[in-house]
Symmetry: C2
Subunit: 417 residues, 2 copies
Amino acid sequence: MRDMLGREELITVEKALELILKHIPFKTPAEINLTIGDSYGMIISRDIFSPEDLPVFDRSTVDGFAVNSADTFGATESFPSYLSIKDEILMGEEPEFELKKGEAAKIATGGMLPEGADAVVMLEHTQQVDERMIEVVKPVAPGENVIKAGEDAKKDECILKRGRRLRPQDIGVLAGLGITDIWVYEKPRVSIISSGDEIVPADKPIRPGQVRDINSYNLSGLILNAGGIPVRRGIFSDKYEIIRDVVEESLRDSDMVVITGGSSVGTKDMTARVINDMGKPGVLFHGVSLKPGKPMIGGAVGNVPVFGLPGHPVAITVCFELFIEPVLKRLTGAVNTAIPVTRGTVKARISRNISSSSGREEHVSVAIEERGGELWAVPILGKSGLITTLIKADGMVVIPLRKLGIEAGEVVEVRLF
Amino acid sequence: MRDMLGREELITVEKALELILKHIPFKTPAEINLTIGDSYGMIISRDIFSPEDLPVFDRSTVDGFAVNSADTFGATESFPSYLSIKDEILMGEEPEFELKKGEAAKIATGGMLPEGADAVVMLEHTQQVDERMIEVVKPVAPGENVIKAGEDAKKDECILKRGRRLRPQDIGVLAGLGITDIWVYEKPRVSIISSGDEIVPADKPIRPGQVRDINSYNLSGLILNAGGIPVRRGIFSDKYEIIRDVVEESLRDSDMVVITGGSSVGTKDMTARVINDMGKPGVLFHGVSLKPGKPMIGGAVGNVPVFGLPGHPVAITVCFELFIEPVLKRLTGAVNTAIPVTRGTVKARISRNISSSSGREEHVSVAIEERGGELWAVPILGKSGLITTLIKADGMVVIPLRKLGIEAGEVVEVRLF
């Protein structure tokens, strides 16, 4: 079999992705300053350092009595230590007294230790003798039940590194340190160009022979979910000059360009030619051993990746996950961690045999159904142009390159949408 | 061991959740009308029906020639059928001719079949004889490579059911049907009340004894991710009248109320009392066999769930996932599907022994590290008041109720943040 550049074999998904990632140098995205309340999910663009010691004072981690630990050594139920109650430490207040030998001060979780105290005895290890006196029935070690000033973070310590995606708890910690605005990377802009003489906007009536623009809406949502900003450029006729002009315009203010439709072999196919004519390196692969998604084009103009996607809506979803999402992730400025990229998956039994050609990776849409307490993956078959199959599918099952199919009853992993 | 309502045993996580879900009746959320471009991730509030047949015409699913299938019966490489080329069908155009016996018309994927045609022969199963004539080398059955009008969706067919969360491809299909605005449920509003005399806002300097408000920022992000709208009410003193007033005010315009801090046993603990005094059913559980998160309070005032969370930031994350998220999901109007709620997980080997008390469910924060090509889950130990542990953790490992611990080297499932 020849691919569309005339090579003998279609390129594999793995090699195609490698090729495109090799040509997209890590270009540092632009920065913006945001308040932390607007920064959930953003990628930080500068290392963040602690502006102060955290905590700024010695804090209790339990409800109990602040003590000098030496006063409790050897204390047991039978031979408790007796300590006189000096005072109660109020939350949010700095204690204005010093704890002397033989004294204890009532303290709540989070309270500040007074001078002279180095540990806290938990309430349940004490007995109130009278208003002025407690028994301690268990000893505490120095520092026990206390977080020392600076123990959590030291002033000027790097607490979050550039390239980190901010999770809710990270924003919480920033608030805890008094950091209320930060530098983050701008989200990458992805231009979506819909091509095809038969395509009309979703809000216009259609005549026989025409269809409405589905793919730019599907792609916009996928781009949003992956951390990009979709820019729907509109619908354009399959003419070389028209597509070239809108690609040229898009390249000026986009971090990525995606063209849908117009990438099957035929007289109207000029996506590849436009990409090559716009600049180096141009088209990097055209045609992948993948179903659906075989006619896909991947390339770049300078630093900007440009993709040509087949018009079939299911192929859009598959090509997005395999190619566009990993490239987009690189453009966000996020630094890779040891954690593999995961999405929700579920194990289920496949409800019927599925055959696949060896030599191509096949992605099969499935619906998840519960039958007799077990989950089943029911392949959604149907002609490749059907679009309501998109609604019925809950996820995808992958049949790898060298596997010939799946037998009914086999347990498969479904990658959920 | 007694729980905080004086019962002999702490309630399990499972029973506590059951109790609270039983008291939160499914109340239909308010609806709003949105354009589809603003509806990604929203829950639809009315069944959606197809306004027309989809497609509205018979479409080709391949590049090739529209034919009358009877003309190709018996065609082989050795004995091809000869058909005369009538015309070429342009994309987006309605063919203005009728195909007669012995005729074929060139057609691209998505093109409209002319009258008289009932199938399409793929380009690769034809040979061009001359400008006016093709050979067909393989027969096609009636309807082959064609999607009939209405085959994808019939007019008035229900295509999306109420309670469905809209994914990118669902919005694509709506666009394809010409549906550009829809009714969706408003997102539930969750009031967050931070209580504690020692808490100051993130943008204010702190004095010794004070700490900044971490939890309302952490909770806001968790609520956003779960499909709710966080409303940060502010920071309030641990006084009965003050907390009662802000809870009362919050109940008026919120679908859920979450109070952080003030739920450990102590003189300043009045969250439970406020919940009971606001209305029935009041507090449903107070104290759960869970670590961290044991002092948690769950209750409801009328239809509105009210939670009291311990002040410890790691406990906030655990209690949110186990209790608040499932209740919030019910409030969104989303209808449960057969698919279990999943979040990203990863298998890893635990790097050290972890012990746990039988009789409570324990959630251990871990960092994921790659060591020698394998993933390891490294428990993040440290005193319970430390907050930078939140930054270091990549996820949680659960030690179930009846398990006493995990041995170093054991493979565990890490629920990623």
